[in-house]
Amino acid sequence: MPDTWAPVARSAITVPGPRSVVDGWEVSTRRSSAALRLSDASPLAKVSVRADADGALADAFGVRFRSSRRRDGVLVIGSGPGEWLLVGGVGTAHQIAGQVCGLVAGDFVSVVDVTHGRALMRLTGSDASRALSKVCAVDLSDAVTPEGAAFRSSVAKVTTDVIRDDAGGGAGEPSYLLHCERSSGQYLFKCLLDAGKEFGIEPEGPGLDSTGAR
């Protein structure tokens, strides 16, 4: 055995292409310049927070169910009534959890690192809404689901948190974060690739930026 040994985490999603280990995650280094791209974002830190829907934590976050907001580089998502999902840079889950605990003293709050238990992917491109609407019944028009909107619904029959996050997509195009149980990740990834086929979708690795954006 080598002297230095570090655990390597693997995403639930397999993206074709050359692989390398980045920040403790074995990821595909494949990048795509296609008009519509689906990237595996699973290495990002994911923290599930539950608290009173109208309590002190909701006020501290400034985020309620069905909305999201970037706060100090962490995307705070109101994924349910009294339920938040925090997405941040790779390996920052404990840091994020510590910050949440610092926000409220005395209130009963549950903070769980779900990084390795969930799958996260990002669909980016001008046709992202059209591709996603093939497998999701929620109205994805800008009027109903604007930048920052979040909802949980059925996407390809999988319970999925969907967040409209153009800012995190980087390219100034419509971009959606999709978050589901780890065991459904590969299936959802394939379903989205299938739905996006007519728009020329291409899969890609997580990219090397570790700030929550691409």
């Binding site: 069905r66 009534p81 909802f151």
Partner: protein, 108 residues
């Protein structure tokens, strides 16, 4: 397909929900008779008309909701979070057309 106007998530396809059944008040276990308990557990009114029932939004807010539904036409006339009293304001029933409310009516 039934569209259920979830008080938390706005109108969604009933496939996102689990049908729990007719809502009945739970008798007080300390004073209930075996006969009353049997009725509570097993008897349902099953009317051809208006019924108050509980649904669970499995693929959305993961909350129980109380729905008044017509079993013949599937029309829904009120919906509210389970445990709360009184019907939800009419805005929930209109599908919440205001901006920022995802409204799922179709398949998927």
């Amino acid at each position: 397909m039934i569209r259920i106007p979830c008080p938390h998530c706005s109108a969604r396809n009933s496939a996102e929900f689990r049908h729990v059944g007719e809502a009945a008040a739970r008798p007080d276990p300390s004073t209930v008779t075996p006969e009353q308990w049997r009725v509570y557990l097993y008897e349902r009114s099953n009317p051809a008309g208006w019924i108050t029932e509980t649904w669970f939004h499995t693929m959305g807010c993961r909350r129980f909701i109380t729905v008044e539904r017509h079993t013949v036409t599937n029309e829904i006339r009120s919906v509210r979070p389970a445990g709360s009293s009184g019907p939800e304001p009419a805005e929930a029933l209109s599908g919440r057309a205001d901006a920022g409310s995802p409204d799922a009516g179709g398949q998927a």
